[in-house]
Symmetry: C2
Subunit: 148 residues, 2 copies
DNA sequence: ATAATTGCAAACAATTTGCATTCAG
DNA sequence: CTGAATGCAAATTGTTTGCAATTAT
């Protein structure tokens, strides 16, 4: 159902008097298809359909889409920001061993945010919360952590 | 009391048959002094004392120190990893408006980790937990969030 | 028609790597 | 002495920017 998001995109663009272009749609579709992806991953994915779509455009478009509120980004694991379509908010569990990113719906996150708000006056964006750790699979595989 | 950490460092190095050098001590001191800092910040800081100490060495040393377990790194806010001395573990509250990083001691983090462990079998590294949001000061200043 | 958007190529910044020199053990 | 560690400079990688050509409106 790519039509839905396309429409939503069009709408958002029109609202700001911006233009609806193929590349913008492709970038959004790629983000949606990936679930969560770095700019590079989006580039790769998008260039399958449109090899001429340049990285510059991907970067610019991601920024734009974020401003429009249709996607948002978090910083998981290492340096690269990870984009995902807005709305489908969740917590990320990032495994430091295998790098896998699992999405989770966690009740306690609210309690945590509440405490931080009360004690530090800090308004946590729960949607951008990501946890670093070791996933079940890796924990099973390597009971004794190695150096590297 | 920089003597303490110097000794600890020496010890850790010896244990692995590695050499104790001035630059390694300087890098560790810089990390300790900064509380939490990116490689670049460490470079800057370290080059005050030793202008010839090269970035390469800083990068290599941070990696080494981490392997030794005397420092660890997290990813706050944007891309750059942030290093801090191990032991003094805490949660980071990163303000997306002003970029300020506040350290917090939060009880609920344990409950959160527990839930994730129970439901997903994911072993959270609580020490690397960082929250994205808006700090008290910024919330007060700009009641109406802007686009950029 | 007209200005927004794109693609390209060059500019940039941050990090990594190879290698000759230096220095701790 | 001897190999580990450093400093330098060049190579990479990921991202940004300027500008002419393109294209949605």
């Amino acid at each position: 159902m790519p039509t839905r998001s396309a429409d939503a995109l069009d709408e958002a663009l029109r609202a700001r008097g911006l233009r609806s272009t193929l590349q913008r749609r492709l970038v959004l579709d790629a983000v949606a298809a990936l679930g969560h992806g770095t700019p590079e991953q989006v580039c790769e994915r998008v260039q399958v359909e449109a090899p001429s779509l340049s990285p510059s455009t991907v970067y610019r478009t991601l920024e734009l889409l974020e401003k429009l509120g249709v996607v948002s980004h978090t910083h998981l694991g290492h340096g690269a920001p990870t984009y995902h379509v807005s709305g489908h908010e969740h917590i990320h569990l990032v495994c430091r061993r295998c790098g896998a990113v699992q999405e989770a719906d966690v009740v306690q996150a609210g309690a945590l945010a509440q405490e931080v708000a009360d004690r530090y006056g800090f308004a946590t964006d729960v949607a951008h919360l990501s946890l670093d750790g070791v996933c079940a699979r890796c924990a099973g595989k390597h009971p004794t952590p190695a150096g590297r």
